[in-house]
């Protein structure tokens, strides 16, 4: 033991530990402060990302095949259910088109070029996931080249699932709302109840055990019911307005009885991420 911790070795070990801790803190500071990582890091990530696609493609293909087989087994029931939904959807679509045209005309009258609800959707495939207990983070195959910027919201299927935490040229990392990191799920959201009143707030935590989003510190006295729709409010940052987050499950007092706490059932499915959509806000 004495030989192992000889003087010179001890000094080297301590210097290494100090360097590592300094590097860790530096990278956290850089990640929090800058909108893009240093060029050399981007370059490295891009190259590794390309190589990853070679491995990820067959593995994801296998997953796709397995899902296709299990999907085939309950096709009939799903088909029945979807048929009824399609009819409703066509109506909504036509109405949506009319409304958006009307909206465009009205904006023109007001000479308003873009508002909070304007965004374009960039579809990306998930390449892989960080193997770590501490980070819920996935890597997607679109980056700066497709107009993605840091902190943009990411949607999967129906609803919000996370935000962009790092952008490289051709791939980026997405922190899911279930991540431990404090800033991962702070989205400004808005709940509209049956009588048209709105409650604004910020997502305060993610309940991993029940898979629920929690909006805490709500002081508004507006009554909220189960099933009220939750959308992003577009206040602050690069999140556009009107992205679907989920529906209200319960609304009641928080643990201390001072403010109320709204529990939201997320619409996005965190457990099955293959294709995600990044909402790119228009400048």
């Amino acid at each position: 033991m004495r030989r192992f911790f000889s003087n010179r070795r001890l000094v080297i070990i301590i210097v290494c530990v100090i360097i590592c801790i300094a590097l860790m803190n530096l990278s956290v500071v850089i990640r929090n402060k800058r909108s893009t990582p240093p060029l050399i890091q981007q370059f490295g990530n891009d190259i590794v990302g390309f190589a990853d696609r070679v491995v990820a493609l067959p593995v994801n293909g296998l997953q796709g095949t397995a899902e296709a087989i299990s999907g085939l087994l309950n096709t009939y029931q799903e088909n029945e259910k979807l048929k009824s939904q399609v009819e409703k959807l066509t109506q909504t679509q036509v109405r949506d088109e009319t409304l958006s045209r009307e909206n465009k005309q009205l904006k023109k009258e007001l000479s308003l070029n873009s508002s909070l609800t304007d965004y374009s959707a960039v579809t990306a495939a998930v390449i892989s996931r960080t193997p770590s207990s501490w980070q819920s983070q996935v890597i997607i195959n679109k980056g700066q080249a497709s107009g993605i910027k840091k902190n943009m919201p990411v949607l999967s299927g129906a609803g919000l699932v996370g935000r962009i935490s790092e952008v490289n040229k051709t791939n980026s990392k997405v922190e899911l709302i279930s991540d431990n990191n404090d800033s991962a799920n702070r989205f400004a959201i808005q709940i509209t109840n049956g009588s048209g009143q709105t409650v604004n707030g910020v997502i305060s935590e993610y309940d991993k055990e029940a898979n629920r989003i929690v909006m805490g510190n709500v002081t508004s006295k507006t009554k909220l019911k189960k099933g009220d729709k939750v959308i992003t409010s577009g206040l602050g940052g690069v999140t556009p307005k009107g992205l679907y987050v989920g529906t209200v499950e319960t609304a009641g007092d928080d643990d201390y009885g001072l403010a109320s706490k709204v529990v939201i059932k997320p619409a996005g499915d965190l457990s099955n991420l293959n294709i995600v959509t990044v909402a790119v806000a228009k400048e």
Binding site: S27, R31, G44, I127
Partner: protein, 173 residues
């Protein structure tokens, strides 16, 4: 001599394959591996590095430089936080080589060495992430919810892959 062996291609290809499989398996089996509160972390890249130390024999692969390079890539590509795995991977190689010298080379002893390696990797990654406030578990929660499932998964992988990798090294030598 690595220069004359087929391992000079086989080792890096396997290393990168296992590195990318870590991410891909975590993605495909994310429901099973990250079902709250348990988290299994795939360390196949550590498995490959440790197996290289077991089977290299007289070839002497420069494992420590490779481990540092892999640590850099792991940090940059997967976690985005620099400085954790760049230190852990070479440390694991040194630890494994010390233990190989101390213990007889049998399957069970190698399993024991790998058990120690994974424990060290998971614990150091927990300590590192605690320093920068990324990990919020307490030590006992870490043992129960993170370390135990991680060990179970990685040891199972070791048992499955040990003999195939040994055979592969026999052929590439």
């Amino acid at each position: 001599m690595l220069r004359l062996s087929k391992l000079r291609y086989g080792f890096p290809i396997g290393l990168f394959l296992f590195f990318f499989l870590d991410g891909s398996l975590s993605k495909v089996f994310s429901n099973q591996m990250f079902s709250y509160p348990y988290t299994m972390v795939s360390y196949l890249v550590v498995l490959w590095l440790v197996c290289a130390a077991f089977f290299e024999g007289t070839i002497a692969i420069p494992l420590i430089p490779w481990a540092i390079a892999m640590g850099v890539i792991f940090d940059l590509y997967y976690t985005g936080i620099f400085g954790i795995f760049i230190a852990i991977f070479p440390l694991i190689i040194m630890l494994t080589r010390t233990l190989i010298r101390a213990l007889p080379q049998t399957f069970l002893m190698n399993l024991l060495i790998f058990f120690i390696d994974i424990t060290v990797v998971a614990t150091l990654s927990y300590i590192g992430n605690s320093i920068i406030h990324q990990a919020s578990l307490t030590a006992s929660e870490f043992l129960l919810y993170s370390l135990a499932p991680t060990l179970a998964y990685n040891l199972a992988m070791f048992v499955i892959l040990y003999f195939p990798i040994q055979a592969l090294y026999g052929r590439l030598r």
